[in-house]
């Protein structure tokens, strides 16, 4: 049933990067020049969204150490991806701190050498036969998600004469409706390339950049196995509950 009282906190477009950010050159021809048309009142088309609880996940969809093998003959330790093994985990919560359960979290990344398994990526770092670079999972009742992967390498890209992307993992979250849809990138705490990156610079507020930093969590790392990075995702807050009794 359509609940006409349901609303989401307005998206702060000064917090998010603007469409036109000339330091990131590709945004120049790909940014609209006209103002966005205001919907005034969001409708069912924006306030509803897909629920992926019935999407059948593979046993290793959230384990990038195991979910890709170019050569099926490569089994066991010999086929494991090269690189620094990490756990990436966190919670999806809304702007009121309420967990977002059973929502789809997807991620993709370069391998330890900084190369993507994509036909257009021709960076000279080698492809890793044991690494695909894609994962997905659903959050649990409390909004927790978890991936096991390797830390992606930084890589150069043709923006400025010597631009490098910091190590990063692309993260996509759906949330409870089309209005909460968000794609972002997780960067790694302490990476000296973060303050140099033209894509990070599309964001004006340093506090907004902080929302994209994965934090080293030694308590959740596994001795003699992998380090853990915590990355909480905050999606738009739903105002619905405050109107229930009206």
């Amino acid at each position: 049933m359509q609940d006409h009282n349901k609303r989401f906190v307005e998206r702060d477009r000064n917090w998010h990067p603007p469409a036109y950010a000339p330091g990131y050159k590709t945004s120049v021809p790909r940014s609209p020049q006209q103002a966005l048309a205001s919907m005034q009142q969001a409708t069912a088309s924006e306030l509803t969204g897909p629920d992926f609880r019935h999407l059948r996940m593979g046993p290793h969809d959230n384990d990038l150490l195991l979910n890709f093998r170019e050569d099926p003959a490569l089994a066991g330790a010999a086929g494991l991806p090269v690189g620094e093994r990490i756990i990436m985990f966190g919670r999806v919560i809304d702007q009121f701190g309420k967990p977002v359960p059973h929502t789809l979290v997807e991620m993709w990344q370069a391998n330890a050498g900084g190369r993507y398994r994509h036909r257009n990526d021709r960076y000279l770092a080698p492809l890793d036969p044991g690494f695909g670079g894609v994962g997905r999972t659903l959050t649990d009742e409390q909004g927790w998600y978890r991936f096991r992967t390797i830390k992606p390498g930084p890589y150069p890209w043709p923006n400025d004469p010597n631009s490098w992307r910091p190590s990063h993992i692309h993260v996509s979250v759906m949330g409870p409706s089309i209005s909460t849809r968000l794609i972002t990138q997780m960067y790694f705490e302490g990476d000296p390339l973060i303050p140099l990156c033209p894509i990070v610079h599309t964001i004006k507020d340093p506090a907004a950049v902080e929302t994209m930093i994965g934090r080293l969590d030694m308590a959740r790392s596994k001795p003699m196995d992998c380090l853990a990075y915590r990355f909480d995702l905050v999606v738009r807050g739903e105002l619905q509950t405050y109107f229930e009794n009206q």
Partner: protein
């Protein structure tokens, strides 16, 4: 108690995680087949309706064009639409003949077109009580797009409903409204609607804030 919506966002609420571009390789994460990579047993893709779905089976296609007039060949799109009866079906299940959600992408192949196989949606009520004309919500992600662009696709052969639609008719410029209207084509007895999305400049598509 002070209601949270009566105070500025920053004082009481957490801030949203900031958006970043989906980048040039979004396909490896969200459109595996388009990247030329092995797919998993169940993927979210562009066959939103299968034969047996209620309503008229249609194909919706288009390109994405940048401010230089060039094709954007690395775009990723998401679609959200009501079923033929005007009802959203949130429960995504590939066993169902119809899902309200779908994904598609432009690539270097097939004229760099995106494509959705779906049914023509029915009209959905606006909170005002008026009916909105049949439409598909589209979100566009790509390298150079810092936060997804949100638009709507309406249908050329719904002129009356389009004129009365409380969202479409409130776009000030009638010329710009036309940027949301997909053109009907018939090929091999199949109905196809085309909407080319222009990110910038002359004929720039209307994008929404909600």
């Amino acid at each position: 108690m002070k209601q949270p919506n009566s105070v500025p966002t920053s004082e009481l609420m957490l801030r949203e995680t900031a958006s970043q571009t989906a980048g040039p390789y979004v396909h490896i994460g969200l459109a595996l087949a388009a990247a030329g990579n092995p797919t998993r047993d169940e993927e979210i893709w562009n066959e939103m309706a299968k034969p047996g779905a209620e309503g008229e089976l249609i194909e919706v296609v288009g390109t994405v064009i940048d401010g230089n007039g060039d094709l954007v060949r690395d775009a990723f799109l998401e679609a959200w639409q009501a079923d033929a009866n005007g009802v959203y079906q949130p429960e995504f299940d590939l066993k169902k003949p119809f899902n309200s959600f779908g994904r598609t992408a432009t690539t270097f192949d097939h004229g760099s077109e995106w494509s959705l196989k779906t049914v023509k949606p029915g009209p959905v009520a606006h909170p005002s009580g008026q009916l909105m004309a049949p439409h598909i919500n589209l979100a566009i992600f790509a390298r150079g797009i810092n936060i997804q662009l949100q638009t709507r696709l309406y249908f050329e052969d719904e002129a009356e409903a389009n004129a009365a639609c409380p969202v479409l008719s409130r776009i000030e410029s009638p010329t710009r409204r036309q940027t949301l209207i997909a053109k009907r084509e018939e090929a091999d007895g199949k109905v196809r609607y085309r909407l080319d999305i222009k990110l910038q400049g002359e004929g720039e598509t209307v994008f929404f804030d909600f």
